[in-house]
């Protein structure tokens, strides 16, 4: 039975010599377009999975499958981009709300950087995410998803002020539905990360 539901042909396998998995996390409020962004750049249809944890968020692995503990689950989407035969980038869409903080430690551990996706109609949704990223020292950029209904069209300078975003954090517009735009978000982030690394490596 398993083999019927589970033929590897149903999915797109990685290159046989793939050896390095990398992570970038996309965070933002509910409905801001995280999955849309992941989908627009991913080489596979975004997959969905869940992490199980205690309500306290400690002893993550110890609670798995223990029916007597109070556990909670949180779903997240991810997509994949093969950067080369050997290197593959995974993009995780993660809910930005405070109650999901326990997911973050796991997701952010070893992550290259993060994209904070913003809807100008609900700008406060991303305050918590930005605060946590700064706390974790995770490099990030802020991408404003310009919805069609974004009639206010706040200029980026005003958004930077509203978010109290330091000058060194990149802030860009995007359209999460458009592949080229999603790609540009990732390139801008990678460029930012590269600059940071160069600055650190150059004495």
């Amino acid at each position: 039975m398993d083999s019927v539901t589970f033929e590897p042909s149903a999915r797109t396998p990685l290159s046989a010599v793939a050896e390095t998995g990398l992570k970038i996390v996309v965070v933002g409020g509910f409905g801001v377009g995280k999955t849309t962004l992941v989908r627009s750049v991913s080489e596979i249809r975004p997959l969905n999975t869940e992490e199980v944890m205690t309500e306290a968020g400690v002893g993550i692995d110890r609670t798995a499958g223990l029916p007597d503990k109070s556990t909670t689950t949180v779903a997240f989407d991810f997509g994949r981009i093969s950067l080369s035969e050997r290197t593959v980038l995974y993009l995780f869409g993660a809910p930005g709300q405070e109650r999901f903080w326990f997911l973050w430690d796991r997701l952010f551990s070893g992550t290259l950087g993060a994209v904070v996706l913003v809807d100008t109609r609900r700008m406060s949704d991303c305050w918590y995410a930005i605060d946590r990223l700064e706390h974790h020292n995770t490099p990030f950029l802020v991408a404003v998803n310009r919805f069609e209904g974004d009639t206010n069209a706040f200029p980026l300078s005003e958004i930077r002020q509203a978010l109290a975003l330091p000058d060194h954090v990149p802030l860009i517009d995007c359209d999460a539905r458009v592949r080229a735009s999603g790609k540009n978000v990732l390139i801008t982030l990678a460029d930012h990360l590269y600059e940071l690394a160069m600055a650190r490596e150059t004495p």
Partner: protein, 118 residues
């Protein structure tokens, strides 16, 4: 294939799958790439068989979880079993596991080039 229900609603079943164990290798990341080193054998637990089939080509821990419809925590335990039995190997992320430790510029340049060539 996406949005397949994940099997979290039945703790008893998860308890059975993991044999009540809860320990997984600490260094097993979401994006550690798992590769089968052998074919499934008769008498193996069905989840182990599915992982061995899936990982004939490398697959990340998180992909295994999505494909099996099981929570990541459970899959980490199952992959840990297979690692201990030397049925699979894991290719761990090159980026430092510690938060706030930036990877080398050479790796980032590779990422940048890869993205530009998409």
């Amino acid at each position: 294939m996406s949005r397949r229900p994940v099997d979290t609603g039945d703790p008893d079943r998860l308890y059975t799958i993991t044999g009540g164990r809860s320990e997984a290798p600490d260094d097993l990341d979401l994006v550690s790439l798992i590769v089968s080193e052998c074919e499934p054998a008769r008498g193996m637990q069905s989840e182990h068989v599915r992982i061995l089939k899936l990982c004939r080509r490398p697959a990340a821990v998180v992909e295994i979880a999505a494909e099996l419809g099981l929570p990541v925590a459970v899959v980490r335990i199952l992959v840990g079993d297979l690692l201990a039995m030397e049925k699979v190997t894991a290719r761990h992320p090159r980026a430092a596991p510690a938060v706030a430790e930036l990877p080398e510029s050479s790796l980032l340049l590779e990422v940048l080039d890869g993205l530009r060539n998409l």
